[in-house]
C-alpha cells in the first residue's frame, strides 16, 4: 500500500526525463531515436501499438486522456497547466486508425514540457511537431520490434517446416505492415491537408 501510494505521488514522466538526461548528456540535444529507445525500455510493460494500452499508460503516468469531439482540424491537443498533464483526443472515425500515433505524438510534446522544466529543452517549438511525429513512429517501430522478435523466436520452434515457414511469413508481413502504418501515420495529417486543398469543400470552414 505504501509502495503504491509512493508510486502514485511520483511524477513518472519527470523521472523518465531526469533519467534520460543523466544517461544521454552528450551530445545534447539527442536525436529522437535515442529518446524513443529509452522510452520503450523505460516503460517496457506497455504495448504502444494499441490505443487501449496507451490509455493504460496514460492512467499509470497521471496523464488525463479524454476521447471527445474536437474541432475537425485538430487530431488531438495537449496542455500542461500547473504540472497537470492532459490530452484530448479527437474521437472522429476519420482519425481512429492513427490514434496510437497521435497519442504518442502528444506524449512527446508533454515530455518536452518536462525537459524544459528541468532546464534541458530538446527542441524549440518550431520543430516540435516534426520531432513528435518522428518520435511517435519510432516508438511504434521499437515497441513492435519486441513483439516481432518474440513471435519469431516462437515461430522458429515450430517443428513442421511448412507451418514454420507460414508463421514466419505471416509475422514478417505483420511487422512490415505495422512499420509502414507507423510511418504513414506520421504523414497522414499533411496528406489530408493536401487533399482538402484540392477539394475546398472538404476543408473545415470557419
Amino acid at each position: 500500500m505504501v509502495e503504491e501510494s509512493r508510486n502514485l505521488n511520483t511524477d513518472v514522466i519527470l523521472s523518465f526525463c531526469q533519467n534520460f538526461i543523466l544517461r544521454h548528456p552528450n551530445p545534447w540535444p539527442p536525436d529522437e531515436q535515442a529518446l524513443a529507445n529509452e522510452f520503450v525500455s523505460y516503460f517496457a510493460s506497455f504495448n504502444f501499438l494499441v490505443i487501449s494500452d496507451l490509455e493504460k499508460y496514460c492512467t499509470a503516468t497521471g496523464i488525463e486522456l479524454t476521447k471527445k469531439s474536437l474541432p475537425s482540424d485538430l487530431l488531438a491537443a495537449n496542455c500542461y497547466p500547473n504540472g497537470k498533464r492532459k490530452i484530448d483526443l479527437n474521437d472522429h472515425s476519420e482519425y481512429l486508425f492513427i490514434q496510437p500515433h497521435t497519442v504518442l505524438h502528444e506524449i512527446r510534446e508533454l515530455l518536452e514540457y518536462s525537459f524544459r522544466d528541468l532546464g534541458y529543452p530538446i527542441t524549440d517549438l518550431s520543430e516540435i511537431e516534426s520531432r513528435a511525429d518522428q518520435f511517435a513512429s519510432l516508438v511504434m517501430v521499437c515497441g513492435g520490434e519486441k513483439i516481432w522478435t518474440k513471435l519469431f523466436k516462437d515461430a522458429l520452434e515450430i517443428e513442421s517446416g511448412l507451418w514454420k515457414f507460414a508463421a514466419v511469413v505471416l509475422i514478417g508481413f505483420c511487422a512490415v505492415s505495422v512499420t509502414a502504418h507507423a510511418y504513414l501515420s506520421a504523414t497522414y495529417p499533411y496528406r489530408q491537408d493536401r487533399q482538402s486543398e484540392n477539394h475546398p469543400n472538404q476543408r473545415y470552414l470557419t
Binding site: 474536437l70 474541432p71 482540424d73 470557419t206
Partner: protein, 177 residues
C-alpha cells in the same frame, strides 16, 4: 372554403390527436399534417417565429411600391405564397427565393439571409471572432499554460482557437475577458 386548421391550437396536441384531427393541406394556412407533427416535436421552427421576417419583407415590398401580383410577375414566387410569408404563416423561404427577392427589392442578399436566420447577425459574428482571437492570443502568451495540438492545417481554425480558450479557462480556473 374547406375545413381550416388552427396551427397554434394543434401545436400542443399529442401525436394521435394530430393524426386524428389534422387536415390535409388546407386553403387557409397551407400547413400540412407533416408540418404540424414536425412543429409538435420541435423538428422545425414555429411559424410564428417568422412573423418578424414577414413584416420585414412586407416593408421591403411596400418601400418599392410593388403589389404582391407585381412581385409574382417578376418570378419571385406566387402571390399566395408571398402573402402567407408576409403574414408569418410560412417557414423561412429557400435561399433561391431570397436571391430573387434581393434582386426585385434591391436589398443586399446578406441582409435577407440574416433576417431569415440563415446567417447570424453581422455584429454578433464579428464580435465573437474578435473576442476569440484576442483571448487566444492571451492563452498563447501565458507561459504557465504550455499547450500544443496535432492538427491538419498549419493555421488553426476559429473553432480550434475557441476550444483552446475554453480549455485554458477550464484547466486553469481563470477566465479571459
Amino acid at each position: 372554403m374547406g375545413r381550416t386548421c388552427s396551427p397554434m391550437g394543434s401545436f400542443n396536441a399529442t401525436f394521435p390527436q394530430l393524426i386524428k384531427s389534422s387536415c390535409s393541406i388546407c386553403a387557409f394556412c397551407g400547413l400540412s399534417t407533416a408540418r404540424l407533427i414536425m412543429l409538435r416535436y420541435g423538428l422545425c421552427a414555429r411559424v410564428s417565429d417568422m412573423d418578424g421576417f414577414g413584416a420585414y419583407v412586407r416593408r421591403l415590398r411596400q418601400s418599392c411600391g410593388l403589389t404582391l401580383k407585381e412581385v409574382e410577375k417578376q418570378g419571385v414566387a406566387s402571390n399566395a405564397y408571398l402573402s402567407q410569408l408576409e403574414r408569418g404563416l410560412r417557414k423561412r423561404p429557400h435561399p433561391d427565393i431570397l436571391k430573387k427577392m434581393a434582386v426585385v427589392y434591391g436589398e443586399p442578399l446578406k441582409n435577407l439571409m440574416i433576417e431569415a436566420g440563415y446567417l447570424p447577425p453581422e455584429t454578433e459574428r464579428e464580435r465573437t471572432r474578435e473576442e476569440t482571437e484576442r483571448a487566444f492570443e492571451k492563452v498563447q502568451k501565458d507561459a504557465g499554460f504550455p499547450h500544443g495540438a496535432r492538427r491538419r492545417r498549419l493555421q488553426l481554425s476559429l473553432e480550434a482557437k475557441r476550444y483552446f480558450v475554453e480549455l485554458y479557462e477550464k484547466t486553469t480556473g481563470r477566465s479571459i475577458n
